[in-house]
Amino acid sequence: MMSAAPDHSPTFARLTLIDRLGRAAPYLLVPVLVVLGFLAIGAPTSWLTLTVSGLAMGMMIFIMASGLTLVFGLMDIINFGHGAFISLGAFVGVSVLFALPGWTDAASLPLNIAAILLAILAAMVLTGALSWVFERVIIRPVYGSHLKQILITVGALIVLEEAIHVIWGGEEIFLIRPSELRGAITFAGAALEKYRILAVVLGLAIFFALRVVLRRTKIGLIVRAGVENPDMVEALGYRLKLVFIGVFIAGSALAGLGGVMWALYEQVITAGMGENMMVLIFIVVIIGGLGSVEGAFVGALLVGLLQNYVAFLEPKLALISNIALMTAILLWRPEGMMRVAKGH
């Protein structure tokens, strides 16, 4: 069969090898960082605690970042208002948890988790519904102009945050986790917070669910193809606008989900929490490669792990560790770890 294109096959073989190495490199960074962390920290128990904590944090950031990166990749739209959905999700979710004291205080893990799932569901439904309106009112008039998109979504972010203040009051709200998710379990001598383990499990589940949708379904094919060349997807016969609205709603609902999880992680919520998260999310999205879900996943894990390791080793540097990571990755790959091919 190769003889059909004899002129080209040698190039082909060589390309794959380099290509494969290049593609694998970002994934390899995570274990490399974990090993480096182990060497730097020395104490295996602390290292394990920090690793789980870093993974939990990374998973949550990924959940919040995934929608943003897909929306950008698919429609070239940058939405600073994404942070408002995180805050809103958190406030809705926490309100649901407060409304279910019987479930959250019960010494029953299934009931506790049911309460959390219900909170997540409420948050996702509400943020999803709001994002549908948001897309029509805020985003649609500014298709094609990044400048206006940034300005208008920043404005919308402020208004939504203030609206949260009006509805839930101006003060931060403290919460405690459902009873069975408080405290830690001891594993191999290391204390692992129960909630962080749950966050890792949930995050992984969402990552793999997203992967399956993107890799195995037609809608996923359309989304991946649309990220690369929207015109061609249209020319094949798919209404990309409709797909995009679906992705926008799903991405915003994921932001709401992430907001609930982050609320339970920090055990305090403020209207500005989403805005603060946007900083990490942008870093993750940039180092991952704008438009790449896998890139956002790897980027989020790197950010989470690094932040936890550095906070342990040299607390003062924790803040700039993310900027340093971003700088290093952009020096290596100026368009992020997983550059999304743009066909136009």
Binding site: L151, N322, M326
Partner: protein, 350 residues
Amino acid sequence: MGLRLLSGDAPRSGILSLLLIVVFLGLALAPFLFPGVRALHTAATICVFILLVASYDLLLGYSGIVSFAHTMFFGLGACGVALASIHMGRGWDALLVGTLSGALAATVLAYVIGLFSLRVRAIFFAMITLAVASAVAVLVSQLFQLTGGEDGLTYQIPRELTPAFRFGEVFGTNLNGRLLNYYLVFFACLALFLLLLRLVNSPFGRVLQSIRENDFRAEAIGYRVVHYRTAATCMSAAIAALAGSLYAIWLRYVGPDTTLSFEIMIDVLLMVVIGGMGTMYGAVIGATIFVLAQNYLQNLMGVAAEATANLPLIPDLIDPNRWLMWLGILFVLSVYFFPSGIVGRLRAGR
């Protein structure tokens, strides 16, 4: 002569010319027209913000680049003056060294950020500046906690610029160092504003605008888009730092909230958009209206909220704490309906 000072960029609208003259005279004669510490402080703040907003407009309006690090550069200039005055002692040399090193630091940092973000996609710039600026903001507030406490830094400036230095009286107004300080701020801001006006009306400014309109075409014609954008970023950062230094000289105090906070960044964005992007005069109008509103309208909201305290919802909505919400709404509406701002409107309606 007048038009040459304005680099041939006439206001091109009767009402706009009138407004600009009113603002100019108001600020030039502020110490005599509006006696009182608070009024003079407002006037100086307007001067500084006109410059800050104009320097931001060079980026946003003329180059089409969104930056969230502008207040960081502003803060760098302020910190430069504060730190130099503290470490070198009270003196003009400290002001000069602080100002120059602040501007230099801002330029270098802007260059580095531009290097990383502008060569790939202009949109990276918005995100990266947000990330860097917020990291720096937190870092600085931690540094403040380490050094000067959260209260910020206070320091001494040359005696000639303080109220303690008196040298006479005119029309019932005391001539003192504070007056000199005000005119230092006023004339420095005026000179730098005219410099900006010259810049955007120079060939360099025209290239920036053609890049904003169509970067592919500008690149095709042979302009290195990245270089121009980076240069604009650096100049804008340097002038923002100078504005910060002037503000620091005026305030004799630097704290994280006065110079670095994200809220000021939002304010600056609003001033540019409301005044009119890409017009420079928009900075004058936007900053003046905004600073006045912030200083006087917020009080009014408080009064109104108290007056309506018995009604449902309304007091919540006009609570002075909701100031930002109304700004946000105004902001969104102006991006939609008046993307060219007040100045654009006035020019179109001529």
